[in-house]
Each structure stands twice: as C-alpha cells, then as structure tokens.
Symmetry: C2
Subunit: 339 residues, 2 copies
DNA sequence: CTGAAAGCGCTAACAG
DNA sequence: CTGTTAGCGCTTTCAG
C-alpha cells in the first residue's frame, strides 16, 4: 500500500509558487503577502495538509518525541505513570514512544537501541527486575539524551530521579501494624537488586527495631507476585510459621497472600492483618479492603515528565542530577483495622 | 542539550572513505572489500553507531512505526491488547506510538493528526465513547494508511475489524443466569452509540426472549463504570426494584454493583447473582470471585497487529475489509454459582 | 571495488 | 514580497 500524503511541494506546484513561500505562508511569516498566505492556507486546509514530522525531525535534529521504558504496561501503577507522562508531553507538543522490557534485561537494551535509533529527545525509565548493568542507559545519556528514572532507579547512573519515599512509607506501614498490636510481622519482599526492594525491606526493619521487636529471618521472604505469595503462604503455614501481620511489597502480593490465608481458615484482619503497596484501585475491591501505601502513579508521571522537559528545553551544559521524593500516603482499610 | 550521535559521515571521515561505501559496508554489500567492511564495522561498533531511523523514514517514505489509539491505557483490557500489538510489532522491527483519547472525541481527532504527521504506516484503534463522527479515521485511511479496529469498532468505516462475539457472549452470560434459576435479570449497559454497547444489550434481550421472560425496561439501565454502578444499585433498591441477577457490561461495573449490593445486606450469589464482562484479572480478587466473559485482550492485540501487517506489507490495491470474530469464554465463578 | 550526486520534505540564510 | 540553494542522514543509481 502506498501512502500519498500532501507535501509543501504539492501545494507549491498547484499554486505555481515556490516551496519556501508555502512554508513561510503556513507559519504566518510577516514577509508574505496576505493574499498568498490566504491562498496557501486555504489550499492546505482543503487538501488536509499535515506537516511531515519526520522531515522536521531530520531538519531540526530533534524528534519531538520522548521514550518511556517500563517493565510492563499491564499494571495499574505503570499505566497511570504513563498517563501522567503522556498528558504533559502531548501538552508540550511531544509524542511518546512506549517500550516494555517485560522485566527482561535483554529487551531493555534492545528498547534503548530502538529509541536511540529513533533519536528520541529524552527518556523516562523504570528498570527491569533483571537489570544489574546500566551501560545501555549510560551510553544513551552520554550521547546527549536526558534521562529521568522513576520508581525503579539506578543509583549507579547520574540522572534525575523521581521516587517515593519507600523507606518512610514502609516504615509507616510496618509501624501501623505494630501499633495495632501485631508482634510477628512478616515481610513479603521484592528483589533485593532493586533499590525499592531494599528500601522497603529496610523500612520494615527500622520499624521493628525501633519498637524493640527482634528481626526474625523466617518472616522475611522474597515474594513479589500474586502466585509467589500464594505459594509462600502455603509454605509458611505448613512449616508452622504463623505471622499475625504481613507487609507486602505490592498489592498483588498482598492479595495473593490474603486469599490463601482466608482459604486456610484464618480471619483478616483478626488473625492476620495485611498491608500492601499500591498497584492502584485493587485495594478497593478485595474483602476486606486492603490497607495500602498510595504511590500516586499519575503524579509521578507528570513529575518525571516535567523534570525531563526541564532538561530537554534548557541549554545548561552542566548537569546536576536532581532527585525528587514524592510523599506516599498510607491508606488504612479493613485488612489492618484495629479491633 | 545537544545530542551528538554518530552518523555514517563521521565514520566515513575518520576512515577517509565516502559515506556510500560506509553505507554499503554496514549492510554487507557484496561489492565491498572485506577489509573495508571490517574496518567500517569495527569502528561502527566502537563508536556505537546507531542508524538514524528518522533519516531512513524520510528516505523510504515509511516510518516503520504504527499507531495505536485507545480510550485509556489504565485498563487491564486495553493494556493487554497493547501488549499483544507491541509484541507482534517489535518482532517485525516496528515501533509503536500509543495515544490515549481519554474517551474524548476532540483528543481522538488530535491523536489522528499527530499520527498522520508522524507518517505512521498503520493504525490500530478502539474508538472513544464520545465518537460519533468518523471522518478523521476515514481521512487517514484515504491518505493510504491501513486501519484496524478492535473492540469498539466503527461500522461506518470500511476497515478491518477484530471483535469478540459480543452478541453470543452476552447471550451466553444471560442464559447462564436464567439456567441457574434467575427470573428478574438486570442489565447494566454501556453507551448505546457503541456497537459493543448495543450488541451486549441485544444478546441479553435475545436470551430473555428465548426463555420466554418478558423484557422489563426498569431492569435495563445505562451504567458502565464502578461509580455509576454503585449509584444505580442504590437507586434501584430504593425504588424497590430488586433483581435476582445482574449482567454487567464490564467487570468494574459488576464489581461496583456487587459491593453496594453486599453493603445493603444482600447475599451474592444467593440473593442476587452477577456476571461481568472481563477487564482482566479483577474477577479473581473479588469475594466471591466474579463470573465473567473472558475477552482475551492479548490475543485480540496480536490478531489486530497481524491483520494490520498483512495490509502494510502487501501490495494489494483492492481492499476487502475483513472482520475477525474471536471466541469469548464465559468463566463461571462464585458470583453466579448454582445453589 | 569505490565515489559523486540526487532526493526524501522541510526550513533558513542569502539573493534578488 | 518571493525564489534559489543547501543541508539534516541515508541510500541508490550511475560513473568510474
């Protein structure tokens, strides 16, 4: 199938004038005769002329396009971040290319290459669980493309970041469990190669330590998906390890734990109370509703995009990375209510 | 910030050869001397040369980019469709630009213009709830860009479509309610300007009619969001209209209804049983689990993408629109179990 | 085996 | 007020 879109030359030919005149007329250049302008604009409208963004990109060495690399789009948190980024970008006249790494390092690297090839003007990224080496991102940055990390950051890379205060949020969540009388609080943790995984664990430990509760390693398990949580609960209960509270690294994990716990005949929150870390609206549709840290995904997206455009649109040569820490609220719902 | 990416000319200059030789060497053209090839490829590797996709697009009048327009990315169904499209596209070496209409006609039109400007090679679209006029899509198609609709199609436009058999699926869902002894079955319907809204209502009516159950207009209400469902249930119950079964146009609506019904002291499925229309994994985390039609979003995405690439990669001039109807399964869970 | 030149669509400096 | 020209990065005839 051949595309047959109108160009400036088409308009010029029809009107028997030069392409540059058309170009100027279209952008209302003061030099151009009013009649010419009118003729050009009328014809452009009639022919539904759309400027060729590809040609403009080549000419200007700016693609007016930014890239996003996220692990998986099919998560409320990530898709709401995207939504935030998109709104800011489209308002600035920028287009967004979204790539999924599917939690794979290989794909993340491939995404970077593709985006480099498309000459994106900037990149917002949340790294995959697998990623331990950040050369692909450093390369990108070194070739002059501003970079902003969100949520899953790479401290090894000197770039802007927007994160929530994971340490504080986890601390608050755990403290809330302690304050409602829980003594044997388990943590379903994320991968420890991610900062968010480490920070959330640390916040949990800080709260326990502060309260004088000894840290029990049998209560700290790596489980960060619905499925893993279900299996882990079975393993723990079968081993006679019965927590009275669980702080989970994300909502799906919390919900997986919740379901299995209920299936085994324990009551929530009476026997075991649970706090998650928000993936979005899920917390409102469990029974009981899930207490959870609200991460404000949309706001994180707009913030990241604004930081990125600050870089893109400024001429500063020196680069002092900025870290923005968003406040995260603990929303207490039925799964951890005090009796 | 200036980007400083390596071009073919840079390599040519360093090696004191011409750009055309570099170009040929990079694509392993048989004419080129092995040593030259090696020198070029080594240097390209060292300098991390990435071909400029923008220049290629301009040269080839193909952007190797496809567009997606969806109402909102923050829905499991839509994001899983995107995932399917992306996987097919990236495997074919295409990039994907995703636009959200946010259910707004104006934004949908703007999205089309932006995508046209980017000279996308094809478009996959699910129209906004507001859209009644399809000129923007027809224009796009007329300028030679293949179009595939999914889910929310525009029958007014002669283009490929991939849909599920909404009529059949709704019929099955309603019939299931009838077979489990329900007599006063309500339908929480979607907007009637969308084919899916109309079809789902029609399937519901067909099942009732077939079973000899008269259609009661008080039981058919337009409610297609979590919030609207909550309000609608209150309104109905307060008016003394108590259904014994509800078929909802999507899962969030079903869940909204479910919660409010439970809050009012009715038991699900004993007093009122409920069937939804799938937005994804939500059905597994309600209590009781929600019976629902599985729409196979990912598969819909891959199918749509494959149909699109059939058009993009073929030279056919004649265009016979194809409609692919995917089978939708009714998954029966706790919310509509027979006693 | 390699180079020069033209052109994809657009703009901007330079000439009239 | 308008036209000519060159160039963004790349490929591809056409000429050596």
């Amino acid at each position: 199938m051949r595309s047959n879109q109108i160009t400036i030359k088409d308009i010029a030919r029809i009107l028997s004038i030069s392409p540059s005149t058309v170009s100027r007329a279209l952008k209302d250049h003061p030099d151009i005769n009013v009649d010419t302008k009118k003729a050009v604009n009328d014809l452009a409208g009639k022919l539904k002329y759309q400027p060729n963004a590809v040609a403009l990109s080549l000419k200007n060495s700016r693609s007016y396009t930014i890239g996003i690399i996220i692990p998986e789009i099919v998560h409320y948190f990530f898709s709401s971040v995207i939504s935030g980024i998109e709104d800011v970008a489209s308002q600035k006249g920028y287009t967004v290319i979204i790539c999924q790494s599917n939690e794979s390092y290989i794909r993340e690297v491939a995404n970077c290459k593709a985006l480099l090839s498309h000459r994106i003007d900037g990149l917002v990224v949340s790294v995959s669980k697998e990623t331990q080496n950040f050369d692909h991102l450093i390369d990108l940055q070194e070739s002059g493309i501003p970079l902003v990390f969100f949520d899953r950051v790479a401290p090894e890379v000197d770039a802007d970041q927007v994160v929530i205060d994971d340490l504080e949020a986890s601390y608050k969540a755990t403290r809330h469990l302690i304050e409602t009388g829980r003594k044997r609080i388990a943590h379903f943790a994320g991968p420890q190669n991610l900062v968010i995984g480490r920070d959330r664990l640390q916040g949990y430990m800080n709260a326990l330590t502060e309260a004088g509760i000894p840290i029990d390693n049998r209560l700290i398990v790596e489980a960060d998906t619905f499925e893993k949580a279900r299996n882990m609960v079975v393993t723990m209960l079968d081993a006679g390890i019965i927590p009275d509270g669980i702080f989970a690294v994300n909502d799906m994990t919390a919900i997986g734990a919740m379901q299995t716990i209920q299936k085994r005949g324990y009551k929530i929150p009476d026997d075991i109370s649970i706090v998650g870390f928000s993936d979005g609206y899920l917390s409102g549709i469990t029974d009981p509703h899930l207490s959870s840290v609200d991460q404000h995904g949309y706001e994180m997206g707009t913030t990241a995009a604004e930081m990125l455009f600050n870089r893109i649109l400024s001429d500063e040569t020196e680069y002092i990375p900025e870290v923005k820490v968003l406040y995260a609220d603990l929303i207490i719902r039925g799964s951890s209510l005090k009796e």
